[in-house]
Symmetry: C2
Subunit: 268 residues, 2 copies
């Protein structure tokens, strides 16, 4: 059975690095289409462009204009393809207007050395059944964010006060995460996971849409099957902007993705 993710990111190859896509309305959040989903669509086009380097290692996206559900075009251009990595430029456009522009370095994570010498600490979350499912969000929130139906997210109760009007003020949100249809996330899917949780500014008492200017994801391993844990943090809220650092850990306790984005602060 095709996963929902595979269906929503499916592409029609038109040759010369050009692909047709259909942005699914199920990824609307606030006024636009989720930036992580867009990056996943582009990420898949890049993987199809350099098939012997199927995995994103580092992907940088700059968000140029807001996307709408419906047809989109992805163009890819190989800047260099060497023995172990390829560098590819890509854009996603709609009706002749660039939506996001991407630079990516791809490789094969299975061919990398298997050393792990990580000093980062795995997030500690209460067991699944003690966490707060996103499905308990109020009806009006869910109507504004159909994207939430794509996931099974269980928030750490210590970081979900914002949902009850009591943000912790720490700038930290973390949750268990998997796709709603139970399919496992692959390396390209991690590009989306890094932008799936609510903006970390919710935890600072600043609800509202936080437009992403730039998002870079490093994919550091093929995720083991099962639940992921995802954390968002911010440390530098200043000048009308904030950075959001995301970590994704897999069920084997490995840090499989790290991302940072620069976003505009929600209007107060």
């Amino acid at each position: 059975m095709v996963s929902e993710w595979d269906a929503h990111t499916s592409l029609t190859a038109a040759g010369d690095g050009l692909f047709g896509a259909e942005l699914d309305p199920g990824w609307i959040v606030g006024g636009g289409v989720n930036g992580g989903y867009l990056l996943g669509v582009v990420g898949r086009a890049i993987a199809e462009t350099v098939p012997t380097k199927p995995h994103p290692l580092a992907v940088s996206a700059h968000y140029v204009s807001a996307s709408r559900p419906g047809p989109a075009q992805v163009s890819t251009r190989v800047l260099r393809e060497g023995g172990s990595v390829a560098t590819v430029a890509a854009e996603l456009g709609q009706e002749g207007t660039t939506r996001i522009s991407v630079l990516a370095t791809y490789g094969d994570l299975r061919a990398m050395p298997d050393d792990v010498d990580t000093t980062a600490e795995e997030p500690v979350l209460p067991p699944l059944e003690e966490c707060v499912p996103a499905s308990t969000a109020p009806e009006d929130v869910r109507r504004l964010a159909p994207m939430m139906e794509r996931f099974d997210m269980r928030f750490d109760p210590a970081c979900v006060g914002w949902a009850m009007g009591e943000p912790s003020g720490k700038g930290h949100i973390q949750a268990w995460f998997r796709m709603a249809d139970g399919h496992d996330v692959d390396p390209v899917g991690l590009l989306m996971v890094c932008d799936a949780l609510p903006p970390v500014t919710f935890d600072l008492g600043r609800p509202g849409w936080a437009p992403t200017l730039e998002l870079t994801v490093h994919v550091r391993g093929v995720p083991a099957p099962g639940w992921l844990t995802v954390s968002h943090r911010t440390r530098n809220v200043a000048g009308g902007m904030f950075e959001e650092d995301c970590e994704v850990w897999d069920s084997a306790g490995r840090l499989v993705a790290q991302s940072r984005q620069l976003a505009m602060q929600p209007r107060r």
Copy 2:
């Protein structure tokens, strides 16, 4: 008097977003030209392309091939220019070969809101006179890294054991930083500062050149005049790669730049 930095990043505009540059041999480190310097050259070309948005907000560079001192060409292409930000794609090439490819979002930091609500903590370093000047490095190190002559760097003695063969193993290096000629660093110059210290892997007992795959810098403020403090950390050494997070704080105690790069581990 023109600063050394301005002289080394000077450009000849050829119209249509094309610029000629001359990569100065004073930026050689190990076998190639420092990636932060290259990013500064490209960053300056972008600033000249969108003069009403002179400051980098977010700049992502993917390193495609090693540069050599001498002539280089920079091409810029404006993807979108709005009221407050512009998104620009750029490449630096030599003899028809792409060296680095860049995506950038530029704006005017002086026009941004002046709120600062940062929870990040300023690095604590001993006074300048108690820190270890890079100029005390052995002659053979300095011959391999002429770039070091561009800066006045004073390393925190707690993080410089690697220079004496006793790395701390913490994955942390920090130093006072200014340009050797005493000129202050401007926002474009911060792109270079984020790649100026030795690789943080030195502190893990892994000396050697660490080729950058990708470097993204967020510039968050115009640095106040005077000394900067710069810190490098890594938390995820795995799969033959490591991430390096850099923070640059100015003399007024503001976090003016944050960067992350993905680099290949030095060969053991």
